[in-house]
């Protein structure tokens, strides 16, 4: 392994050298656009970046690859002026610079598209962009927006209210906002996690176009096939260190993955389960009107999940996934009891607690504030849902000892990195909290398990572990329903698959019979022609 890293290191140094010699693209100087050298940043108890080097040339798409917690975000935040390095230097076009603030970074020509957008829902696209750039929302800006969005194939109506836009469209606002500032370096933080396959293709077209125009793109991701498809160079981080640089085209996804994770990746094999005939969870004509402005109404959802199978529900965020989860979990009651049948018993009007007691455990998408109470300890968060199915009380009073033991069990089983059970949920990293929450529900041994975005923000190793436990559950006869935006994940683990679009659920198909392309169409609301459907 170590030998491999060195090999790649040499390879790339050599490569950079050659490029510098030949005069790369429009950049006539030998220096790369950005050179970060020996960047070190320590947090209390953790060395997030350990002497990392990163070189990005103008006009290239450079991948920053690493698992969650590898130090990608920290490095990027330092580059964007959000954090200050403890040691190390940054050179911009060969000149040594200190980037003290994002404003200064923008001045240099560095732009960052965040993974989570900071947009005001009640304002228009134009107003949001104006606010982000601290300029007036006038006609001139509007024209510029239209011009930029046309030029780069990012259709955007400046007068639309943001709350009416899909996540993909919202991302376009952020990209356009960055492009208006005429950046030399565009940093994209996990941009495709919220997009349909078609939208991903569109985004790639835009990014390639930008790179042809000489803009350097730093592309942060852990999705290997995207990096292979898009990026010309890659810097790979693991545990706060730069372990390798590579040319993605010359690597297999497998070799990239092993560089990223350090040891051989044990990705779960695709396995099919033989479902029993018994339907454990059944929705029939389940409808629910939108209670609030931003909610998506659910229309006539029909779905059966049998014992021993995994059913996947694909869909772009904001198409009713949250609402579907809430009617299944019981947070929102359905009009009549028969709309949801749980293990043969009408449960449409049951409370969440009663459903849990019947064997239905759910993991909603939002980890902090929905699946957990941010300020409470892991012990208390374990008690939050587990007390229905696990004995956590002594003569009616909450037993801290029993809750703590359960929390410890989850932490151990699911390898949650934390400082003990007294840690507040909010202080865990996203991936670790996800492991804890998913683990908390799985440890309750549900007969019906419904999970939304099971591996969002989780590193590949943990994702594999979560996938494996979902498969184990199905094998042991539980009915598992996975709602996810990650198509690879759904194609890998689900036996049958459907897509949710604008609150309507498509027909359910055998996963083997559906291609990713067809699934993308289902996510857009089309239906697959008759010969394919199961």
């Amino acid at each position: 392994m170590f030998g491999l890293c060195t090999k790649f290191g040499k390879l790339t140094l050599c490569d950079n050298y050659l490029k510098a010699m030949s005069g790369n693209q429009s950049n006539t100087s030998a220096a790369p656009l950005v050179a970060m050298r020996g960047i070190t940043k320590a947090y209390p108890g953790c060395l997030a970046n350990d002497s990392i080097d990163l070189f990005v040339d103008a006009g290239t798409i450079h991948a920053l690859l690493g698992e969650n917690g590898a130090g990608k975000s920290t490095l990027v935040k330092i580059l964007y002026g959000l954090l200050q390095a403890d040691a190390g230097s940054i050179e911009w076009r060969g000149e040594s610079v200190t980037i003290a603030s994002p404003a200064q970074a923008r001045q240099l020509g560095i732009a960052l598209v965040f993974q989570h957008f900071s947009l005001f829902e009640a304002l228009s696209v134009l107003e949001n962009i104006a606010l982000g750039m601290a300029v007036d929302a006038n006609n001139e800006l509007k024209q510029k927006i239209i011009e930029v969005s046309n030029r780069y194939g990012l259709p955007l109506d400046p007068d639309r209210q943001v709350y009416t836009l899909s996540v993909g469209e919202r991302q376009r606002i952020e990209i356009v906002r960055c492009l208006l500032q005429d950046p030399k370096l565009l940093i994209m933080d996990e941009p495709t996690s919220v997009l349909t396959p078609q939208e991903v293709n569109d985004l790639f077209v835009t990014l390639r176009r930008l790179s042809e125009e000489g803009v350097a793109i730093l592309y942060i991701s852990h999705k290997l096939h995207e990096i292979k498809a898009l990026c010309s160079e890659a810097t790979i981080l693991r545990g706060g260190k730069r372990v390798a640089t590579a040319i993605p085209e010359q690597e297999s996804t497998h070799s990239l993955a092993s560089l990223m994770m350090g040891d051989e990746l044990v990705a779960p094999e695709r396995e099919t389960h033989t479902p029993q005939d018994k339907v454990l969870l059944s929705l029939s004509n389940a409808s629910r009107a939108a209670a609030e402005q931003h909610e998506v109404p659910l229309e006539n959802i029909n779905l059966n999940v049998r014992a021993g199978e995994i059913v996947g529900i694909a869909g772009v965020a904001g198409n009713g996934q949250d609402e579907l989860m809430q009617v299944i979990s019981g947070e929102q009651a359905l009009g009549h009891a028969q709309a949801l049948v749980l293990d043969g018993e009408p449960a449409g009007t049951m409370s969440p607690g009663a459903r849990r007691a019947k064997g239905l455990c759910c993991v909603p998408e939002e980890r902090l504030g929905h699946a957990s109470v941010p300020s409470m300890s892991l012990t208390e968060n374990a008690f939050l849902t587990a007390h229905h199915r696990t004995n956590m009380r002594t003569i009616g009073l909450i037993s801290k000892r029993k809750s703590k033991r359960f929390a410890e069990q989850v932490i151990e089983q699911f390898n949650v990195q934390c400082n003990g059970t007294a840690t507040a949920a909010a202080s865990l990293s996203g991936g670790n909290l996800q492991k804890f929450i998913v683990g908390r529900e799985i440890e309750q041994k549900p007969s019906v398990f419904v999970v939304s975005q099971p591996t969002w923000g989780v590193d590949a190793g943990a994702a594999a572990a979560i996938h494996k436990s979902l498969q184990d559950m199905a094998r042991q006869g539980a009915a598992v329903l996975v709602i996810s935006q990650d198509l690879d994940e759904l194609m890998l683990i689900s036996d049958r698959i459907a897509a949710l679009c604008a609150g309507r659920l498509s027909d359910v198909h055998q996963t083997e019979d559906v291609t990713v392309q067809q699934l993308g169409e289902l996510m857009g609301g089309a239906s697959i022609s008759a010969e394919v459907s199961a």
Partner: protein
Amino acid sequence: MIRLEARAEPSKLMGFAAPVIALLVTLFAGLILFALLGVPVGKAFYAFFIEPLSSTYGLSELGVKAAPLIMIAVALSIGYRANVWNIGAEGQLILGGICGGAVALYFYEVEKWYVLPLMTLAGILGGMFWAAIPALLRTRFNANEILTSLMLTYIAALLLSLLVHGPLRDPDGFNFPESRLFHAAATLPIIFEGTRLHIGALVALLLVVVGWVLLSRTLLGFALKVNGQAPRAGAYAGFTQNRLIWFSLLFCGAAAGCAGLFEVAGPIGQLLPNISPGYGFTAIIVAFLGRLHPVGVVFAGLVMALSYLGGESAQISLNLPVAVTGVFQGMLLFFLLAADVLINYRVVWGRRGTAGRGASL
């Protein structure tokens, strides 16, 4: 230069230290205030803080004032933990006094053991009824309970005034706006002979224990805390928001109503146009000063009770206006809210940003 820097996580130490800091700063500011008023500082300090505590009677009076404050503040803390902002405990206290007092007056010729329990029950139900109104408005119409409960306080005060000027007025009282004096079976037993310290103080301590167990060890208390901190997580866990709102308000109404009845059946012994020196409002300060924790509330209740006694004492010996009490209470809350910033922020001396950093390291 001094600036505030966000802490990585809230400081537990500051959670405890903030009330102490606020108390000390209040004390200091109070003494400056006395000095500006031309009162000798040492004498004022003695009159306000030492004199009330220097006799057994003074100490018993501290208990008399602290009991209603603690009872109400424990109940308020529970509601505040659940984000139910009942500001109208004063009104619920008055209703408790009215209902319990009315029972006492109805039985004015009956000196039986059951009169006092009936009065207590009536007081509790009266307070609950008054708290049920904001609860209903909140759960049915989503009306803000801060406004509704506060406004109901003024209605309660006027209702009491109306009753003691009218139907509940003492027929032999020369038209003074006050009721008959309650007879012995309708007044609270005294704990120590020669003082006014009544069994309400014991009830307050009992309520502290109940509140503590409720918040720390019961599912209901857990649900209240979860819904206060993350309502969506509460819904996910299956805690019904409306039920918790009803519970918070009714529990507080019961405690405040009971405290009100204890006032009229204890130290006062009859119905008057004014039966509380703002206990229901002061209890809000007590709840926050006590960190919304039943045990903390005991200490905070004693401190605030002292501000009442000190105010009276300063009035008598130094000729200061009665408003001094309110000024002290207000300052304390003000400084407490300011000191609470330190829970989430730390004070840093020195210049901001990249001072001392070279262009490249």
